[in-house]
Symmetry: C2
Subunit: 378 residues, 2 copies
């Protein structure tokens, strides 16, 4: 008896799909059956026929939910799905276990095993192949630089023509994690004059190796797990003031600073936005319902200031490069499956340093210490 | 007494402006006064204040029209402008003298001097600094490659990540004139696997020097003035059949083939469009009211086929990079002004090998032999 993996059509606005034809091909060669909901890959340009050719069975939503031993998903499945889940089924995806506590409690109550990518221990090297946050941030950084190039009113590269020379565009990337580095690399490819800013001084080497200038302020804040720590109000004010000078010297500003589970830090103040000259472009990858890195940014909207600067709230960039993003996501899913299946059976080892962390709930219990902390459980 | 140059706010949908702040600065240092209509630069992110700081006088539309010795324009000014023009005034821009014969006859009747960039002798080397078709095609090619990168569902470059390797996207550029070469160069910068096709075998060197693969068919058609000649129906059929094989092997197809004053050649047949797999992206730079290079393309629209391929009608790409495109256009305008002003006076020398060609009408007469041919005048 083989295990069945299923993927559903995601919610409207989410273009990705949690399994790709390439990964399906590998899964069916192994010990898995694969169910794909009709139309699940449409928005990633993977039609049903392509999944079918890869060995998946195309079925309706209910059949996919009910037939799945493991349901792979990009975002939280909605109430229609959760209502149908049964004890012992496993859910794997971005389940927001630290910010949507009701949801994780409901999964526990239903005795669903919930593997949440947000809980992955990102500094353990064998977890890297499962790191959805990293793979999707990389897509987002690439896409942000392209969006900048497409929306900005000038050439990014220097151009030498019969009619004269155009200067290269100055691009500043705030936050040089995975997304920031990929944005820097892509803007450099396009010939822009790029600088990267981070409050972690250790980022200098990575930024400079891409041929960009490294900027930092007098505030330094290396934190846990590779993230920056949260700053004090005094440090924040000092950082914002020092950043304002960098911002004023650039044409395109891409911001990527996120602190897991918290409001993103405000890096570009209203004063900097108001001072920005006509045509300046801000791309805020942290734009979310919680706020963003740029004052006044709104998720999925372009805001034009009185001075004709533009602020693009670009929190869902990975979904905008859906085929590549799905490919990467699916490979991360496959890596988790490889880790949790032994001899054709699902083994969720709570003592494993990776899987034990990834597991939010199993057997009706919330076992993740991070989720328990958030719920103030002992 | 100095000469006055003016630029107006262009028609809706046209984001460019015919003079840039940089060129205004140079003109006012010389022997010119400059009038800019209120808001003319808004859509290029050049606010009135920036033009004013450069030395222009900001005024209303009527004052700009009436005060101009030379009116520089991107596209044909509308009836409201033409009605106000007086004998002896000079109009300089893309005036469609070969395709809109009524318009050029009206300018002649009003004794307006019309300098039309479409008539520039493009193979004369001193005309290169005035070559608007070339400068704007260069912008369009750059923008087409960026649009492709932004709209395509996958990474253009090869990506090596913890979760695996993504293959580079295959980009095919049909027509390797100025726009095509710039599209090739930009797609190469982004890391795509690029090939360029042209029916002029002499293009091979330019394409290969950009690191792209040169493709050609058994049909060869070098024509006049650097353009390809029009093909016979038999040659067209043969070319289309041979191209179909190239198209089927690529993910992104950018088409740039234009023949001045004629319907653009159909390079991608309906059969090729229908055979294209999901996600294939066609960008048709020749898309116009006359038709385009891709079957079914529509100007300024995205058409999705039954197989989920996309066809983007991208005939106005230069207008979508408005600041850089305006800068280049304005430099071309400045080069013409330099050629037609001597000792502070306008001298339109009909015997000059460049200006004589550029002039469609002067002193109430249509003097361009190309326009006279189109009008069947002796």
């Amino acid at each position: 008896m083989s295990l069945t993996i299923a993927a559903l059509r995601e919610a409207p606005g989410e273009n990705r799909v949690a399994l790709s034809p390439e990964v399906v091909r590998k899964l069916v060669k192994g010990e898995f059956q694969v169910l794909i909901e009709t139309g699940a890959g449409d928005r990633s340009f993977y039609p049903d026929a392509v999944f079918e050719a890869a060995g998946a069975k195309i079925c309706d939503r209910q059949a996919a939910i009910q037939g799945a031993d493991v349901l792979a998903t990009i975002g939280q499945p909605g109430k229609d799905v959760v209502d149908q889940l049964k004890a012992g089924q496993t859910l794997l995806g971005l389940l927001q276990p630290l910010t949507d506590l009701d949801y994780v409690q409901e999964l526990a109550a239903k005795k669903v095993n919930a593997l949440a990518f947000e809980l992955l221990p990102r500094t353990v090297s064998r977890a890297q192949t499962m790191d959805v946050l990293s793979s999707q941030a990389s897509v987002a950084g690439y896409k942000a630089a392209l969006l900048a190039a497409d929306r900005f009113s000038r050439y990014l590269p220097m151009m030498i023509t019969a009619a004269g020379t155009a200067k290269p565009t100055k691009v500043l990337v705030l936050g040089t994690g995975v997304a920031g580095l990929q944005a820097i690399g892509t803007a450099k490819r396009l010939g822009a004059m790029v600088s990267g800013y981070d409050i972690r001084p250790a980022s200098r080497g990575e930024v400079e190796s891409l041929g960009a200038t490294f900027l930092t302020t007098s505030v330094s804040a290396t934190g846990e797990g590779g993230y920056a720590r949260a700053l004090t109000p005094e440090e924040t004010a000092q950082q914002q003031a020092e950043l304002a000078a960098f911002i004023a010297q650039n044409d395109v500003i891409i911001t990527t600073a996120q602190v897991p589970g918290r409001r993103p830090p405000l890096l570009v103040t209203q004063k900097s936005v108001d001072a920005a000259k006509a045509g300046t472009l801000f791309i805020d990858l942290a734009a979310s319902a919680l706020g963003g890195n740029v004052a006044g940014s709104q998720p999925d909207k372009t805001v034009t200031t009185a001075q004709q600067a533009q602020i693009i709230g670009a929190g869902d960039m990975a979904s905008q490069l859906p085929a590549s993003a799905s490919d990467m996501f699916a490979k991360n899913v496959q890596a988790v499956l490889t880790a949790i299946v032994q001899d054709g059976k699902l083994v969720l080892d709570v003592d494993d340093e990776v899987i034990g962390e990834l597991l939010a709930t199993t057997n009706g219990e919330i076992i993740s210490s991070r989720v328990r902390d958030a719920l103030k459980l002992p």
